[in-house]
Amino acid sequence: MTSFALAWRTATCYRARSALATAGVAIIGALLFDMLLLSRGLVDSFADLLNTSGFDVRVVAHEGLPVLRGPIHGGGRLAADLRLLPEVEDVTLVRIEDAVIPGPADDLKNVTVIGTTEQGPRSAWTLLQGADLPRSGTTPDRCPLIVTRHLADVRGLDPGATLNIRIAVPGTASALPQIACRVVGIADFAFATANEYAVATTMSALEAADTTRGPDEADLVLVRSRSSAGGSAAARAIVRVRPDLHAYSNEEVVSQFNQNGFAYFRQVSVVLSSVTLVFAFLLVGTLLTVATNQRLGEIAALRALGISRFRIAAMLLWESALLVGAGGLLALPLGGVLAWRLDRLLRQMPGLPERLHFFVFNSSAIVEHMVLLAATAIVAACYPIWLAARLPIAETLRREVIG
């Protein structure tokens, strides 16, 4: 009979203890699994969000937060120059403005207007209804619009509807005239928050609507690198051509956020993961120690019969592994459900893109989860093993008889 078989039979013999330990490890393991998902989930989700735009390099005028970034002048010329680079496949200029949408009974809606040049596929939004923005010179529309589903629902907009927009000038009451735009499509915007009103239009339409800013200005230049070059090489090439600008590959953006913006979540998850591991260790260690103490006579008898220390140690180790293993396996679906609920809760925080997730499933989290629990099982079994291995046989047998 192997040590594993002995451990298995012990676990099934003492069902209440095994069930208690398994349930405890399952709950603790679920928390650990969630912390592991959280430690990387936001970063993975953010990277996924960046990559869905179809562009892997971002060019800005200054470092720092987007709201503090200055405009990039001569966008058209810049785009033409960048397209000549062998590392670059496509370039899109993006300009972002705040605007208001007048409604019935002075119901003004603040809205974010995204202007984009027409080149390349637009994957920053997923079209739900209608058509995408037309390419330059292919439409008589002065201001074609893609609107978010949320705005379409609130204003009852369908493709073909007219929507008046007036660009807001920061710090002053807007004196700009409102322009009549035509809704061409309804879409989910990747970077939009759940309740944000956002619209996208062509760069030329936005320039026409906002006469306060210079022509050919952009806030952001999105670049798609050639697959043979990659984002980092394209970013370096762009900076060589335009050293006055800052170019970041998606990996660099994610890395910066990982070190700065998401450090808080990582630290929280590390602390909570450590705490859950300590709880798992204490739970399994205590149960095994109590169980071993209850079975000292049995263990002393086994030793007296010539069963080796190694066999008894292996049996206790397997017992620990079985309890933690069963709990750890149960922890995965339990943690998955918990992560899904927590993710829904956390995503209700204001200002977060709707498609950003805190908990993202990844196989490496399962591997880490298993490795950490396996290590916990080993550590938790150490004391009971030591107790059993150094057991004075004769003294224990005597004590058992007297007891």
């Binding site: 002995l6 013999c13 006579g297 049995e298 008898a301 069963i307 004769a394 058992e400």
Partner: protein, 224 residues
């Protein structure tokens, strides 16, 4: 070279205690020869079990020497002693100490598995032993499904599993009524008749009376 399975020479055992050392055995000498059946009797606390533990290689004397089949036990490593206990000594305890999660047959198989006996041979030997202790029909029963007498018979079968040279039994009838105790004593007679040396420590005078040699202990010494 002697014919003794085990020989104790001038053995003493002192237990250090916080309130002062307690001498459990004083200068005891004893030999158990092949085919011997020795019973040790005496009042509680006189050192019977301590002597049995020393003979059974689960404890070490404070002074004196013990040789098992002409090997000085003091010179052996724990793993070697463990091997002797596994293959040359069979232990029977007052409280049986069967593993509660294993059936009667599995309890008997366990020491054989530890000794590396192949599975088919193991199962055959286990069947023989269960028949030997008249429990062939209880092979698949857990200890909790057996009576005290049946558990002790399984424990005796387990002790005999690896064909030991010496069977040591510590109050084997201590937890049994007289009738059941007599059945166990009958079994010991059979084991002895089959050539296994037995050293039994007991309060049971009926059991002791069946031994070929009876020794009395008092205050840690064997009485002349």
């Amino acid at each position: 070279m002697t014919h003794a399975v085990v020989e104790a020479q001038g053995v003493s055992r002192v237990f250090p205690m916080p309130a002062g050392a307690v001498t459990a055995l004083r200068n005891v000498s004893l030999h158990v020869d092949r085919g011997d059946y020795v019973a040790i009797t005496g009042p509680s606390g006189c050192g019977k079990s301590t002597l049995l533990h020393l003979i059974g290689c689960v404890d070490s004397p404070s002074s004196g020497s013990i040789s098992f089949e002409n090997r000085d036990v003091a010179t052996l490593r724990e793993s070697e002693r463990s091997r002797i206990r596994l293959t040359r000594i069979g232990f029977v305890f007052q409280r049986f100490f069967l593993l509660p999660m294993l059936t009667a047959a599995e309890n008997i198989e366990l020491p054989q598995a530890e000794a590396g006996v192949p599975a088919t041979e193991r199962r055959q030997r286990t069947r023989e032993l269960l028949e030997y202790v008249d429990l062939a029909d209880r092979a698949g029963h857990l200890p909790s499904q057996l009576s005290g007498g049946e558990m002790q018979r399984v424990a005796i079968a387990r002790a005999l599993a690896n064909r030991p040279a010496l069977l040591v039994a510590d109050e084997p009838t201590g937890e049994l009524d007289d009738t059941t105790g007599n059945h166990v004593a009958d079994l010991f007679d059979r084991v002895h008749a089959d050539g296994t040396a037995i050293l039994v420590v007991t309060h049971n005078s009926a059991l002791a009376a069946r031994a070929s040699r009876r020794l009395a202990m008092k205050s840690g010494s064997l009485m002349p």
